[in-house]
Point group: C2
Chain length 340, copies 2
DNA sequence: TTTCCACACGCAAACGTTTGCGTTGACCCT
DNA sequence: AGGGTCAACGCAAACGTTTGCGTGTGGAAA
């Protein structure tokens, strides 16, 4: 078990000083060509790699980006991470991913952990609990210590920082417009409770689209689901309560759950009921029928977020005291679950 | 922008030495009660948090586990990560996740990066390319430097280290047995090319089950798919070439793709053809009909892997020179895609 | 008054780097 | 021979911790 070789060991072995070794490896003109080559050969032989920890300590930066997401087992978030990694790696940054599991406490712990030396900046989508409690002290504290933060997807309006979002309302509007253009009029929405920002916004877009087409909005056509784990019962009861010719679901799970219930009642999609989802994930693509959906372009979100963060990280700290909110365009992916 | 406060600053402010501050915060009896309380109050006020980087450098350990997986956008791997995080966090470890994107080079880079100071040990499922090239020098090197490695799922037999796997062959056998018990005899397998270890093993299990039931194995009933991205054409041609009464797919994607093709040809699942998959993911659960499948218990794999690694990390380095291979039991999750 | 012992604290080294500056020694010029 | 120059290298500080050991002060016992 050969331990990692350090500058000190090389220096001792070659009978020179540590600084000579360090300079030789950096091709400093201060060191003679002879020595430089000798040192380099030796370093190669022993597979010398500078110790990142020591470098971080010295440089006061880690060259790593901390990403905190509510759930790791979630297709949308992982695509975002993919985007973050892509640009981060290209710029020489590493990416550390932590999941908060939608727990406020774990979000705080992870954040403090990463903030105390492990990351230079953060890309975050906040936990459900955090949105509920409206307690953002951990994020504010991190920012006040000079570490940039970029929020995405589930953002917090009150926080002054860079943000990457989609126009949820507009996306929802697109979805409903599409349904209307296919002749649907009795359009239901399967949404979440209002404290989830995206659920609220998508409901807003739904209502806006209805108004734009002079379709009366009806309270009974709106379902706000609290307990996502047990959404099936809620959706079943809701769908039994009224006749709909179209359903707009704010996520994949609600969409396929609705589909299941409709099938069980002998309905056909899209002939009897059109169905449209939000988030273009695995389910939408492979479901039968494949689901028309609003794509959030997760990877692009990740890329933009990483770019924003790195700009802040590398920019002149004084000149960059302005914050941007990037809005990624959603797009309608038309598939088989809506009428032609 | 108040910068992070260090021991030095507290010391200066309180006009004591750095060591006094450090000891006071650790409740050392060396320091008078007065001073201890003063220091602690000050530290709380300024929200002092020890710098992890400095600690890592001093202690020569980082208390973080590096996880390297082939794809981040993959349900099975993320469930494994969930398990790893669960036990790692419970034991005070952090988890850094990097994806190799199935690229050998990126796997090496990530590994070297994490090995040079960022992680104490590794949990890895190797990239497809790595399995092809059979080049494991990066892993061997890391181990020879004294950093423990735990391999899971896509493991490497030649490497001497801890491993967590499922009995792929046995799992496949379970699947085929189930099909046979439901009266199926013309059973096809949708597998991957042989250099993917799990594909090969599952094929082995398939053959073993057939033999055990005296069902002749037929070359034409086996499809080995090379290009996963474009599996649809291959599967379509394969399914047209013969009549099957059951299909065993080694992953979810192959299963739902087959289902799609069968539907398009007017076949019913499970009445005309029974379908069984591998990996109990989102798709299997929400597909219509929901898919009978072999669950790999990803979360448990992650938990076991993390436990093995932490044992090595914290154990007496001499006494732990033995390596275990943990085999997680697979289980059959019976749903609607196979006959009752 | 001297001696001794706690108590309370500071010094300094160590972890592995980087880098400005000081220090050698050889050689050349006058 | 003395002074100067320059190439080649080492010293030391710094990043933020921890910790063994040394040290100074005070009071009490003899």
């Amino acid at each position: 078990m050969k331990q990692k070789v350090t500058l000190k060991q090389i220096a001792k072995e070659l009978d020179v000083s540590i600084s000579t070794v360090s300079k030789a490896l950096k091709d400093s003109v201060e060191i003679s060509k002879d020595t430089r080559e000798k040192v380099k050969a030796f370093a190669k032989l022993y597979n010398y790699k500078p110790n990142n920890i020591a470098l971080s300590l010295k440089n006061r930066k880690t060259k790593t980006i901390g990403v905190i997401i509510p759930e790791i087992v979630h297709h949308f978030f992982t695509t975002v991470i993919g985007g973050v990694e892509k640009v981060a790696n290209a710029k020489g940054y590493n990416v550390i991913i932590c999941s908060s599991n939608n727990s406020f406490d774990k979000e705080v712990i992870n954040m403090e952990m990463l903030a105390s030396g492990s990351a230079d900046g953060f890309i975050i989508s906040v936990a459900k609990e955090t949105q509920q409690r409206k307690d953002y002290h951990h994020i504010e504290e991190t920012m006040s210590q000079g570490m940039p933060v970029v929020l995405f997807d589930r953002i917090i309006d009150e926080l002054v920082c860079d943000k990457v979002i989609i126009d949820d309302a507009k996306g929802a509007q697109k979805a409903v417009n599409h349904l209307v253009s296919k002749g649907c009029a009795k359009i239901a929405i399967l949404s979440t409770v209002d404290y989830i920002s995206v659920g609220k916004l998508r409901t807003t877009g739904y209502l806006r689209a209805l108004r734009a087409h002079d379709i009366p909005e009806r309270e009974e056509f709106i379902l706000k689901i609290e307990d996502i784990e047990h959404c099936e019962e809620e959706i079943a009861a809701f769908l039994a309560s009224n006749e709909f010719d179209a359903i707009f679901a704010v996520n994949e799970l609600f969409a396929v759950t609705a589909a299941k219930i409709l099938y069980a009642r002998g309905k056909s999609i899209p002939n009897d009921v059109s169905l449209i989802g939000f988030t273009d994930g695995i389910l939408s693509k492979h479901f039968i029928p494949s689901l028309t959906t609003i794509s959030q372009h997760g990877e692009e979100m990740g890329e933009r977020a990483a770019k924003l963060l790195i700009d802040k990280l590398e920019g002149d700290p004084l000149a960059t005291e302005e914050y941007k909110t990037v809005i990624i365009d959603t797009s309608l992916v038309e598939r088989q679950s809506t009428k032609k």
